[in-house]
Amino acid sequence: MSAELAVASAAAAAVAAPPYLVVEQVSKHFGTTIALERASLTVAAGEFVCFLGPSGCGKTTLLRAIAGLDPATSGRILQDGRDITFLPPAARDFGIVFQSYALFPNLSVNENVGYGLRGRAWPTARRTHRVAELLSLVGLSEHAKKYPAQLSGGQQQRVALARALAAEPGLLLLDEPLSALDAQVRLHLRQELRALQRRLGVTTVMVTHDQEEAMGVSDRIVVMSRGHIEQIGTPETIYRHPASAFVAGFVGHASHFDAVVDASPGTLLADGITLPCLGARKMLYGTPVQAFIRPEDVALGPSATALEGHFAARVMHQEFLGPVCRVTLQVGRLQLEADVNPSVAPAIGEVLLAALPAERLMVFPRHV
Amino acid sequence: MYRRTLTATAVALACTLLPPAAEAQQRTRLTVYTALENEQLAPFKRAAEAAVPSIEIAWVRDSTGIMTARLIAERENPRADMVWGLSVFSLLQMEAQNMLEPYTPQGAEALRPNFRSDRSPMTWTGMDAFVSAICFNTVVAQQRNLPRPSTWADLLNPVYRGHVVMPNPASSGTGFLSVAGWLGAQGNDAAWTYMTGLHQNIQVYTHSGSAPCNNAARGEYGLGISFDMRAVTLRNQGAPIEIIVPTDGVGFDLEATAILRGSRNMEAAKRLADFAVSRPAMELYGRYYALVALPGVQPSVQNYPAEFEQRLVEQNFRDVALRRDAILREWASRFDSKSAPRN
């Protein structure tokens, strides 16, 4: 309860304070191809934001525009009130970790981390101290003299992170930093990354194509597709209230089917079955829609009978996932997936009642 | 550390690349282009510098073709002060392009009339004559039963088929010299008939003028049509070759001297040109050539027939030079397209 309050007040503070990073109408063209079209968003100080989307959606392009590595074609980017749109990377204030880490293979871990700590501001003593501090922060103090090739993937990733954080940048940019790692290491590092970010309070933007990763670490997620921003919101909003069919399909797991809005308000007609649906209330009769339902929302058996618009379905297939069992149901030509408790999982071929809760059914007009 | 090494390297580079600074310049350095034999360069330089102490000779030596090509390519901005020892045909070509400085060296009027420019002042002066000759490998001749030829006409003997090499006149001045000699000695029609017959016996037309004699000396072929001077050098190395100056008229070419128009050391060049026609210089030429430009100088070179001078054909250099393109075109149309391999 208190934690919830804290988060709420932090969010309120974020709204009140001017945003740390502002992206306004940013577009990027490569020749005639449009990689990014009028993207706008804001990131509050200390926030962790993920750019999520399939490959080619423009998320890396946007990150590189923020970094100044591939400057935007048009639009405006402000960091801490300063217009950085066309500044060269060296004149900006950020640290970056690449998918490949881009560790300098011929320099030791020490030298890599201290690479940016040069000039009059960093006399040897201060520099040595800072490098040691960072290495202990990422837990690699005993590997300081090794070369990158002598480290594991996860250790390399942490070196890259330490290097990016060395000069205390105002903004940390992460380009798919975890995608080259094994699943186990990846989960572990993800949590470590989030903890570190919280501790340092550094504003962070991470690019990923892995929605689970994005949900796990972000304060807010920016879902992108084909050069457009589809939706910006907290993980829960994105999951529960997707703004488009794309988001509904891309984030989380969902069965989807085509339907039309029926005559009586708030109902759909799909393959001859009438389904109550809150989301369809404001839609015109006859509108073709795409409907999405998450497997954990599908009601089966006794709980289905209580709901309006239940129907009989046959179990075609089942898949044991550990905590739940996912069954595939056939209703006429519709296929639905539903999660059930493994201990009461129905047998294949069994016919049972199912229902889709009206408030959980997500609908989007279908362009035909 | 890096930086210091870099600076040192840069300084070292600058020192190696730039032309040597004028070292206490008392003597004028003359750049002299030549096609003389390598072994002649040192004695010629010594003699000239002794006679004209105010000059220093810097040779650039290459084959006649390369030297001529360079001189003509440098026409816009000549780098040579003088040419000393280049074929008169090349000099006439340069004269036609207005590249030679008119200057009559002291005593040049004494030279044989055919051995000096007919302009006044003169554009070039001759040094000596070299003739087209046959390098005859006596060892190969013995193995293959080849009789010793004494005339050009003898070379038509089918016994020589595949044993004769000559330079392609389009690639080599020496080759052209032979062709011009045949044309001069035999007249147009007879000469082309002769070459057509000779073509049957020729194994290879080489691109280099010295290659035929070199090949004959190494026994690659029995007979090489080349020029006399080449053969002497090879004999001295121990090659079993005899130099045959055919008795039925040989073409000859002059080695000549000229000053380049636009030379930056005109006075010094004139002094060297004066020396080049002097009697001591002629005696020097006579150590290598059987006929020198100044009458009355007895060449000291050995192994030449006494009546050598009589074998030379009447040659009007200017006339031949003017017809050069036409002759080569004719030659190419007769023999070039047929000069495909016949291995």
Partner: protein, 566 residues
């Protein structure tokens, strides 16, 4: 999301930072060197193709005249088929050799690798002389030709095979070294036989290398005039046609015409190379596992035999030349003597020519490597692309197709022009250095680009994000990692500049005659033993430099490549 349109702003408010301007300036500098050293000279010469000897414009008349010359078609045809046949002989041979070195278990790989390079280390006259000693009319092995003459296409092709072998082998060794063992494992698991694996995995992976090697060999043969001139007898090819027009007839206009014609096959080959390059992308992923061959007699023994055969041929030819340099007068006085090495007896430049060559080659190696590697880095990593980068890229590929003789003549006409502010270079060692760097630019450029492309593309981005100037990252990361490739480039420049003849024969001055030219002079003067002696001396110098490189590789690696060890 707001749909409000932003107020229109002044176009391109880009603040070009000092560093980007510096990098761009560097690229401009590289372009200037290439323009001054290649484009303008070549343009000056090629313009002559459209002029008469007096310099008036005559349109295509020279081309029409050349086209009606009966020997043209023959020469063009000869050039094409000798080049094609040489390519057909060299590439499979070199492939077998490279395959043995990279994909088989044979002993003495280091020895074979060193021997493979022998031909590039010596002036091209050396194999020609050796072939004459062996297969000439007085040759020791002339019976092997069954009455055919070595002078002509046979000699040309044999000498070219020798001369081109290392070029092809080097490219193919690189192509075959970058292999992915996982593909072989996959093929083996799918029960593909050795032949099938070879056909479906090995060959396709080496496809680009094969095309590259073919293009390089074909171009080398078409543009080289040294070998056809010395051993080709009267067999006409395009390259000797240039020689005939320029040196025999002093007709530069026609020489330029033939030079242009000569560019055509080379340009075609070049286009083929570009095409193959485009097909290549994505063949090898960054996570490839290197292939380690396991012994297999059926493959290893024949390959070892092939390597031995090639090694015997290469070493044999060089050994014959060394022996030839020690005899008094071949073939009539075979007493051994060291007198042929007393170069001052044969050539006024004597040993000084060797010293000249070493100075030119060393300078070309240092300056050229810095210029070429720096330019390649600027192209790949430094400044953003654009027209400037495309221009530099294109020009860098041209020298491979330009015959040395054409380049040399172009240099005279351009640098000696009275209006040229660079005229002071003419006649100095500097112009010979510039000529050498430009002449061999392409291969060195490709080596540099390949090395740089193997680096993580984000190094410079990381540097920029850490506010480290790109030049510092270049010095601290790029150069140390690429040091082996940089040494390769420097040694390549040194070796080639030491041995080249065709371009420099027009350019040396009274005090700057290079040894390779002295070799030609001595041969022309009939002193073939002395010529062989100087060629062998050049070989000794280049070979020591190469050996020094190999010997120091260990030390260099310890110093700069320690990070490669796991």
């Amino acid at each position: 999301m707001s749909d409000a349109v932003l107020p229109a702003r002044a176009p391109s408010p880009v603040v070009v930072p000092l560093e980007a301007r510096l990098l761009r300036f560097g690229l401009l500098l590289a372009l200037a060197v290439l323009v001054a050293g290649l484009v303008l000279p070549l343009g000056t010469l090629l313009l002559r193709a459209f002029q008469d000897p007096e310099g008036s414009f005559v349109g295509l008349r020279n081309f029409a005249e050349y086209a009606t010359t009966p020997s043209l078609r023959l020469a063009a045809w000869n050039s094409l088929w000798t080049a094609a046949l040489t390519t057909l002989l060299v590439v499979p041979l070199a492939f077998g050799f490279a395959y043995a070195l990279t994909r088989a278990c044979i002993p003495a790989k280091g020895f074979f690798r060193a021997v493979m390079l022998l031909p590039v280390l010596a002036p091209s006259l050396l194999p020609a002389l050796a072939l004459i000693y062996l297969f000439g009319n007085q040759g020791m092995l002339r019976e092997l030709l069954f009455g055919n003459s070595i002078y002509g296409p046979i000699g040309i092709i044999v000498a070219q095979v020798f001369y081109c072998f290392p070029h092809a082998a080097l490219i193919l060794v690189v192509a075959l070294s970058t292999s992915d063992a996982r593909l072989y494992e996959a093929a083996t698991v799918l029960r593909a036989g050795h032949l099938r694996i070879f056909g479906t995995v090995t060959l396709p992976m080496a496809r680009y290398g094969l095309v590259s090697a073919s293009v390089v060999v074909f171009t080398l043969v078409v543009t080289d005039f040294g070998i056809p001139k010395v051993i080709g007898g009267q067999f006409p090819v395009l390259a000797t046609d240039v020689y005939k027009q320029v040196v025999g007839l002093q007709n530069f206009n026609m020489g330029a015409v033939v030079g242009l014609v000569l560019l055509l096959p080379a340009l075609l080959a070049f286009a083929a190379d570009r095409w193959a390059n485009r097909q290549r992308s994505g063949l090898l992923s960054g996570r490839a596992v290197p292939y380690v061959p396991r012994p297999r007699r059926a493959r290893d023994l024949p390959l070892l035999a092939l390597c031995l055969l090639v090694a015997v041929a290469l070493v044999g030819l060089v050994a014959v030349a060394v022996w030839g340099s020690l005899v008094t007068f071949w073939p009539y006085n075979l007493n051994l003597t060291l007198q042929n090495y007393d170069f001052d007896r044969f050539d006024t430049s004597g040993w000084a020519a060797l010293w000249n060559s070493v100075r030119i080659a060393a300078t070309a190696a240092i300056v050229g490597t810095a210029l070429i590697f720096g330019t390649a880095w600027l192209l790949e990593r430094g400044a953003p692309g654009g027209a400037l980068a495309s221009a530099v890229r294109f020009i860098a590929g041209v020298p491979l197709a330009v015959p040395g003789l054409v380049l040399g003549l172009a240099f005279i006409l351009f640098f000696n022009h009275p209006a040229n502010p660079l005229g002071f270079l003419y006649g100095t060692l500097a112009i010979l250095v510039l000529n050498g760097v430009v002449h061999f630019y392409t291969v060195m450029h490709l080596t540099a680009v390949t090395a740089i492309r193997q680096l993580d593309p984000e190094f410079e981005s990381v540097g920029a994000s850490l506010k480290v100037p790109a030049v510092v990252t270049f010095g601290r990361v790029t150069v140390p990692i690429c040091l082996p490739a940089i040494l390769d480039i420097a040694v390549y420049a040194f070796v080639n500049v030491m041995t080249t003849v065709s371009a420099v024969i027009f350019l040396y001055g009274p005090d700057t005659k290079p040894a390779s030219v002295a070799v030609v002079h001595m041969d022309e003067a009939g002193q073939s033993s002395a010529a062989a002696a100087m060629a062998v001396t050049i070989l000794a110098i280049t070979a020591s430099v190469k050996l020094a490189q190999i010997a120091t590789t260990g030390a260099v690696n310890r110093l700069t490549q320690g990070w490669r060890a796991r």
